[in-house]
């Protein structure tokens, strides 16, 4: 397979959902495997071939000293590094520890905290190494993932829109849930899911993270007028993308 582009998939702290998205491409998986050399993808194969790799897809955030070293090794062996998902791109749900004392967390969960080796923070891959592209979503969207892989394999820029979920809502013909008085994060959330939540009659909870240049203070003001309490605004922002700059800043503004 010497002429094939070599693809690697790496896992750090995560739920495996973003890697699974690749395996969920049931119609495309065999074709993809014929087009590239899936050199390293331990979730799917025992092959685990050595680098260098042309493209490394990285899932999960950095939460241990060992992983902080491992991501540098991944970078050194990879021509391109693309992060997939909220964990790899913003620290993920496990970054909730960044707002607390991790010692308390360890003590709450484990009887022998001394066996547990963890950093005080959960940080995105870009806090440790240079990243060539970040694909958002918890989990990432299948079509967007295939687009990104295709783009890197053919040396072009991925076509991933930077606008908000609201645009997708309009396109899908959803009735806006804000009109019904439900505080929604759609206006500041990055497109990609196709506006699933409003289509299922509920508000967006921001699982694709911040769009490009979101106006969070304006949205919180809107939320306040709809009766949302400070703590509610803080909590919804501190979920899957809580450690991203825009969500963190606005959530801090609503912390007591």
């Amino acid at each position: 397979m010497a002429n094939f582009l070599r693809l690697a998939v790496w896992k750090f702290a995560s739920c495996d959902g973003c890697q699974l998205t690749l395996l969920d491409c049931e119609d495309e998986l065999l074709a993809l495997a014929e087009a590239v050399d899936l050199a390293y993808f331990p979730e799917a194969s025992s092959k685990m071939a050595q680098g260098p790799y042309d493209l490394s897809l990285v899932e999960g955030s950095i939460t241990t000293a060992h992983d902080a070293q491992r991501i540098r090794d991944v970078r050194a062996q990879s021509k391109h590094v693309v992060t997939i998902g909220a964990c790899a791109t913003s620290g993920g749900i496990q970054a909730l520890r960044n707002f607390a004392d991790v010692g308390d967390f360890v003590a709450a969960v484990y009887a022998r905290p001394d066996y547990i080796d963890t950093l005080e923070t959960s940080t995105p891959i870009s806090a440790h190494v240079t990243v060539d592209f970040e694909l958002q979503g918890c989990p990432v969207d299948k079509r967007q993932l295939l687009e990104v892989i295709g783009a890197f394999l053919t040396n072009r820029k991925p076509v991933i829109p930077e606008y908000s979920v609201c645009f997708e809502c309009k396109r899908r013909g959803n009735i806006c849930v804000m009109v019904k008085g439900e505080p929604c994060l759609g206006p500041v959330t990055h497109a990609g899911c196709g506006a699933i939540c409003p289509a299922y009659r509920r508000a967006c909870y921001g699982c694709f993270g911040p769009m490009e240049a979101p106006n969070l203070p304006a949205l919180s003001e809107e939320w306040r007028q709809m009766g949302a309490a400070k703590g509610q605004i803080r909590d919804v922002l501190r979920t899957f993308y809580g450690w991203s700059d825009p969500f963190r800043r606005e959530s801090n503004a609503h912390d007591n």
């Binding site: 799917a44 969960v109 963890t118 909590d235």
Partner: protein
């Protein structure tokens, strides 16, 4: 004295990060440690102070492969605590989406992750060169399971539609009927799958497990039942902590469970099957018979056949549930929070997934405890490994290593799940 240490530094084709250390001294296996080094993510800790309304979205992120097990267990606990009664059609839809989770998760494991072991390939992609149809069939089954997850949940990974009391939106009868043909086709594929996997060469090996699974009045258990064991346990889910305990071991970030005073036990397809064989329809029992599986199976390598049988049953169930579906008058029942404790337990593809939450008056979470299946099986995996390796001590390291990896994959361990849960019982040496 000769000492051999066999290591697998990074287990492939399992969900999450784990490793294996095997110690052999003078021809005897002295230790088999499944090391789970998946970094802890502390779900139980950061759930404290969050609202019950956020629970389904947050716990889904424990695992991308079986999010429904976490969502539904948590939702049941909320409904238990706040005394919410759900519409029977809503319960039927929950069983239906859970069938989807079983089908996609089992198909992924059986065809993409486990079958290559028996046929001698590093992965399903290589296997597809000689067994293209089998891989296609696996992918088609997985897709059928995902189609159910997608329609009912909005998407297959971390569905958005489940909530306490019911669903944010329920499907129309028409929408569901569209899936009926796909599920009927899937049922035929599942039959072929059972026959295919039952032809694999299984190592001769049996162990005497204590099987633990839910047991329900009529159904093969998925979303409800009592916790029952082959050694006589028969309790309501709220009494789990009376019979079972967890312990932390130095080599793992996951806690290990055991039956109090007895030790290791087994959850998952083999346990469900052993305890609920009589709840399977006659047709599935007959197919099991012709596939060489009796009413109880103690060979863990044959768990792949039982998973295939469960895919078949889930497809049958999906067809039945879709035919019987009537749109409920409202998608969800109202929920009034109060200060209370609630329990939830369902059959995840890998076995019972147990939840306990303590809520404050306004519905915020005071304490959470989640016991996922993989942590419950961890002691059992280690006991299997010791026994499997003992039969092979004269063989080369590589042969032992390969067989041990296969032994671990019998469990379809979801290590990402196993590494995040709260320990309440404290053992200090």
């Amino acid at each position: 004295m000769t000492t051999r240490t066999i290591k697998v530094d990074y287990l492939a084709r399992v969900e999450g990060e784990g490793a294996l250390d095997l110690h052999i001294e003078n021809g005897e296996v002295t230790a088999a440690n499944l090391r789970i080094f998946e970094p802890p993510r502390f779900f139980e800790a950061f759930l404290r102070g969050r609202s019950y309304t956020e629970l389904p979205d947050i716990v889904a992120r424990i695992c991308g492969i079986c999010p429904i097990a976490y969502q539904l267990g948590a939702i049941q606990a909320v409904e238990d605590a706040f005394e919410v009664t759900v519409d029977p059609q809503v319960s039927a839809l929950r069983r239906l989406i859970y069938c989807g989770e079983w089908i996609q998760s089992h198909a992924l494991h059986v065809v993409m992750l486990h079958a290559p072991d028996f046929l001698g390939y590093p992965d399903a992609i290589q296997m597809a060169e000689q067994h293209r149809e089998a891989v296609r069939r696996g992918l088609a089954l997985k897709q059928a399971g995902n189609a159910l997850m997608c329609l009912l949940g909005g998407r297959e990974i971390h569905p958005v539609s489940l909530r306490a009391g019911g669903f944010h939106r329920v499907p129309t009868k028409r929408e569901l009927e569209v899936l009926c043909d796909e599920m009927k086709q899937a049922r035929d594929l599942a039959k072929e799958l059972v026959i295919w996997v039952s032809s694999f060469p299984f190592p001769a090996f049996e162990r005497d497990y204590e099987f633990v699974a839910l047991r329900h009045d009529q159904d093969y258990p998925i979303t409800a039942g009592r916790i029952v064991s082959s050694e006589g346990i028969d309790i309501a889910i709220g009494d789990y902590e009376h019979e079972f305990e967890e312990r932390q071991v130095p080599h793992s970030t996951a806690l290990q469970s055991s039956v109090k005073r007895r030790g290791a036990y087994l959850v998952g397809p083999m346990a469900r099957y052993a305890i609920n064989h009589d709840r399977l329809p006659q047709s599935v029992q007959e197919l099991a018979d012709s596939a060489g599986i009796g009413p109880i199976c103690r060979n863990p390598f044959q768990s792949i056949v039982i998973r295939a049988l469960e895919i078949l049953h889930a497809c049958d169930e999906a067809v039945r549930l879709i035919a019987a579906y009537e749109e409920p008058s409202r998608p969800f029942a109202p929920v009034e929070p109060r200060a209370a404790v609630g329990f939830g337990c369902t059959e995840a593809p890998r076995g019972i997934c147990w939840h306990r939450y303590e809520f404050a008056e306004d519905g915020t979470i005071r304490n959470a405890r989640i016991v996922p299946p993989t942590s419950q099986n961890q002691s059992s995996v280690e006991a299997d490994l010791k026994a499997v390796a003992a039969l092979l001590v004269d063989k080369a390291d590589n042969a032992i290593r390969t067989r041990c990896e296969m032994t671990i994959r019998n469990y379809d361990p979801c290590i990402s799940c196993a590494a995040h849960f709260l320990k309440l019982t404290v053992h200090r040496p």
